[in-house]
């Protein structure tokens, strides 16, 4: 019962956070200089611009526009995109799957590679492999993602031609053949963008995981396990790793914002038709409804990710469940 209450409280807080984000983004994009009817590269006739602004209600006070927006949002209406000339809902519905595919594959790469490296380094702490890997992960972690993206494109796309240069599919075949080929083709197109996002994330995860493993390694129960003659493999996987998972789960919650913000750059560079690219182009064209809706969806995903991470933390660590219940009792008393 207390978990359900806790969950309800978190959900209410999540909605409040999302509304706050939407409000902040709405105000920010409206007070930012630039007009939505001015093209990215071409200067549009001012008379047409005025007419478009009037039609879209952009000549009304910002507060009025905000209330209208919230009213529409309450009815599930995300608005109409000026730049795409179509409902925002449709545009976002088309792009979300691409972003989730990219973020999903990058997340898997991030955690599988990061976890493996972190465990390996912790087991060989302060020895040569750990030092080498530590420097490599630090180097990769400090790379700007856009630079890594361009480097990978140049090397593996243009020079070696191992992987496609941008896009989600082979544009010649995949509209025509709806088959396993296109699934493989999608994975093939995902390699470079997911690698760019995933590698940088994995470098960070590895460093976090190494530190967490080493912190746990000095605990009494690890020493006790070793003293009891438990095999080293079992000590690492069963005792050390399991207890170090808390930082891993926390990092999962933090990884989502990283992946979503990274996706803005990566999707633009790799011509990946996801939400990040949509939001980036919407900002350039001052497409207010699209920018606000993108922020809404992104914040919802991040909040949901953190909620899942908190739930997982509770599952992984009974102490946190007890603490949460106690806090709740105090609050509701």
């Amino acid at each position: 019962m207390t978990v359900v209450t806790w969950l309800l409280r978190r959900l209410v807080a999540s909605v409040a956070i999302i509304i706050a984000v939407v409000t902040f983004v709405f105000i920010l994009i409206h007070v930012a200089p630039g007009r939505p009817c001015a093209g990215q590269n071409e200067i549009i006739d001012p008379a047409i611009c005025e007419r478009v602004s009037h039609e879209l209600g952009l000549d009304r006070p910002v507060v009025e526009q905000y209330w209208r927006y919230l009213g529409a949002l309450a009815h599930g209406n995300l608005g109409y995109s000026f730049s795409l000339r179509r409902p925002v809902r449709d545009a976002i519905a088309e792009t979300i799957p691409f972003t989730l595919q990219l973020a999903g594959v990058a997340l898997v790469l991030d955690f599988v590679l990061g976890l493996t490296l972190g465990i390996y380094q912790a087991r060989r702490a302060n020895r040569l492999p750990d030092v080498i890997l530590g420097n490599i992960t630090l180097f990769v972690y400090s790379l700007p993602t856009f630079w890594l993206a361009l480097l990978l494109l140049l090397m593996f796309g243009e020079k070696l031609a191992w992987f496609p240069v941008g896009g989600p599919n082979n544009p010649v075949l995949c509209p025509l053949v709806d088959s396993a080929y296109c699934f493989g083709d999608r994975l093939w197109h995902l390699v470079l963008p997911a690698m760019t996002l995933g590698l940088v994330g994995a470098a960070g995860t590895a460093r976090f995981q190494r530190a967490a493993m080493l912190a746990v390694a000095s605990q009494d129960y690890i020493r006790t396990a070793r003293a009891k003659g438990v095999s080293e493999r079992r000590v690492v996987l069963r005792h050390q790793l399991r207890n170090a998972l808390l930082s891993f789960i926390t990092r999962f919650g933090l990884a989502l914002p990283f992946l979503l913000t990274g996706a803005v750059l990566i999707e633009t560079i790799f011509a990946w038709p996801g939400m990040g690219r949509l939001a980036f182009e919407a900002i350039l064209t001052r497409d207010y409804p699209l920018v606000t809706a993108s922020a809404l969806i992104a914040s919802a995903i991040v909040v949901a990710g953190n909620l899942v991470a908190d739930l997982l933390l509770g599952v992984a660590d009974p102490r946190l469940r007890v603490r949460a219940a106690r806090d709740l009792d105090i609050v509701t008393a």
């Binding site: 001015a38 549009i44 494109l153 075949l173």
Partner: protein, 557 residues
């Protein structure tokens, strides 16, 4: 099917195995004839709509060239005077019925892609739509001198004009693509910008619309029954890549067949080095200039404190070495324009008189105007005010940002301080439109006629529009009026020359560069021709010979 992406032999084995297994169910292509072929264009922008009166961007125009026909179109000479150099399209023939009446006879073979015949009612409907303020077409002002379009019978359309002038035919045919009245009549005009038709158009051109995958690609397929002859290439795909460098990489990596503008010398070099590509140069239609705002940025009713002074503008213009700027930034990929024009315009003439590059004379003139370095800080001043101004540059243009820095250096050499404001394009546009700038690096594209572009941008007709610097010269406008009404090029050329020389002497802007267009096209494509005003205008005549087909050409639907 792996070979659909050439050079895939280099793939790492694990990818080859995985993709080969997954490709097991894929349909294998088998087109082998003369009209096979797939052309993938690496485009950098995605259009918002393909409905011609509402399409403002270049990519939409390129695609609409394939979908919707005009009555006739300019030839490769891009001569807009009279009708001698125009090619029939929807109109089989035309004749003049008096000085102000032009009669078009439509080709009875022309059909919409849904099978309906193209009629004079469509032509009348199209003119009414383009000139309807509810549609807000950017082409509307260009049709202002046409009084009406009516149908005489189902295949005869009659254009009536307000006045007689040399580009009557050009105005009648160039700006309008004929639209299907039976499909668009039910759509309220004020909703055309967002009409579903714009995302699933039905045209009458050599290609039919096939599909639009948002943010990915638009695909057209050849209409094998097209009345002017079957197009040479079977499928056209515009693949959208928001980054120019990545678009160029796609062509170099053989994942696209054409990039019609390479833009930078580095891209041209890389394309030349790619074995499968041919590189083509053709005249550009864009020129870039530094505009002096002659009205105050704070109050547009007042003159600009610096640039309302003609002599100051002239002195600053003389301080700019445009040839060396061009060499530094573009190498051989552009030219210094002799005035406000791209090389597309037939009035381009390097003998047109321009202000010379002469820093000594510039310095003398600045001294004479009282702008001297009184306090020895390296910046000229007068009455305690330094000779300093801001330069507005969009962050989206690497070339213009580079030019801004080079200009800053050159002005610094004559004691003028320039502060560069690099801003987002939408902010630059807003500030330019509202006159809130000192100087701005701007680009304009020309259509083939000097009459429309030059008049719109450099006369009072462009106030509140594209005459952003608010330049006004009664002399210039008088000569332009005469040039516009000259009946042939021989008469018009000296008038245009005189007009441009008048404008150059007033120095409303420094005309920096006119970019040459350089395209990269896959070598297997034959009969590649670029019409300078619209590279895709004659795309239907391109072909890929059967012996040069590659796998992506043979894919069957």
């Amino acid at each position: 099917m792996l070979s659909a992406m050439p050079r895939r032999a280099c793939l790492p084995p694990f990818v080859v195995i995985a993709v080969t297994i997954l490709a097991g169910c894929e349909r294998r292509g088998g087109c082998t004839g003369a009209n096979c072929g797939t052309l993938v264009n690496a485009a950098v922008a995605e259009p918002a709509t393909l409905l011609p009166p509402s399409s403002e961007d270049i990519v939409a125009n390129d695609i609409d060239e394939q979908l919707f026909l005009k009555l006739a179109d300019v030839g490769m000479s891009v001569n807009t005077l009279g009708d001698d150099d125009f090619q029939p399209l929807l109109a089989q023939k035309w004749e003049w019925d008096g000085p102000l009446t032009l009669v078009f006879h439509l080709d009875p073979r022309a059909r919409w892609h849904d099978g309906q015949p193209v009629t004079a009612a469509d032509v009348e409907f199209t003119f009414n739509a383009y000139t309807d303020s509810a549609v807000a077409s950017p082409f509307r002002p260009k049709l202002a001198r046409i009084t009406s379009v009516t149908q005489r019978d189902s295949l005869t359309a009659v254009f009536r004009f307000h006045e007689r002038y040399p580009e009557m035919f050009y105005d009648a045919v160039y700006h309008m693509r004929i639209l299907p009245a039976h499909l668009l009549r039910p759509v309220p005009r004020d909703q055309w910008k967002n009409a579903p038709f714009g995302r699933q158009p039905v045209g009458d051109g050599p290609y039919r619309f096939a599909r639009w995958q948002p943010a990915q690609a638009i695909e057209l397929v050849a209409d094998s029954t097209f009345f002017l002859g079957r197009p040479g290439i079977r499928r056209l795909i515009w693949r959208f890549t928001p980054n120019l460098q990545v678009a160029v990489q796609q062509v170099i990596a053989d994942q696209a067949d054409i990039r019609e503008q390479l833009v930078t010398p580095d891209n041209v070099e890389r394309a030349r080095a790619a074995k499968q590509l041919s590189v083509y140069s053709y005249r550009g239609n864009v020129y870039t200039f530094m505009s002096f705002n002659q009205r105050s940025p704070d109050d547009s009713t007042k003159p600009h404190p610096l640039f309302n002074d003609r002599e100051l503008r002239r002195a600053l213009s003389m301080a700019v070495d445009r040839a060396s700027l061009l060499k530094s930034a573009l190498g051989d990929l552009g030219k210094v324009p002799p005035g406000p024009m791209s090389e597309l315009l037939w009035i381009w003439d390097t003998d047109i008189r321009q202000l010379p590059y002469d820093t000594a004379q510039a310095a003398r003139r600045l001294n004479a105007l009282g702008w001297r370095d009184h306090d020895g800080d390296g910046v000229r001043d007068k009455d305690g005010q330094p000779l300093s101004f801001h330069m507005l540059v969009p962050t989206s243009s690497g070339l213009r940002r580079q030019y801004a820095r080079l200009l800053q250096e050159q002005f610094h050499a004559v004691g003028v301080r320039v502060e560069i404001d690099e801003l987002e394009p939408s902010v630059v546009n807003q500030r330019v439109l509202t006159g809130k700038f000192d100087t701005a690096l701007l680009s304009r594209s020309n259509d083939p006629s000097p009459s429309s572009g030059i008049a719109q941008t450099w006369t009072r007709a462009g106030f509140g529009g594209s005459n952003f610097g608010r330049y006004y010269s009664p002399d210039f406008e008088r000569i332009v009026d005469r040039a516009v009404t000259a009946t042939n090029r021989d008469q018009a050329r000296p008038l245009w020359r005189s007009a441009i020389e008048t404008l150059n002497a007033d120095a409303p802007a420094v005309f920096l560069y006119a970019l040459d267009n350089v395209a990269a096209v896959h070598k297997r494509v034959e009969n590649v021709q670029f019409r300078p005003d619209s590279w895709a205008a004659v795309l239907r005549t391109w072909r890929i010979p059967p012996d040069r087909l590659i796998d992506r050409d043979r894919v069957e639907r």
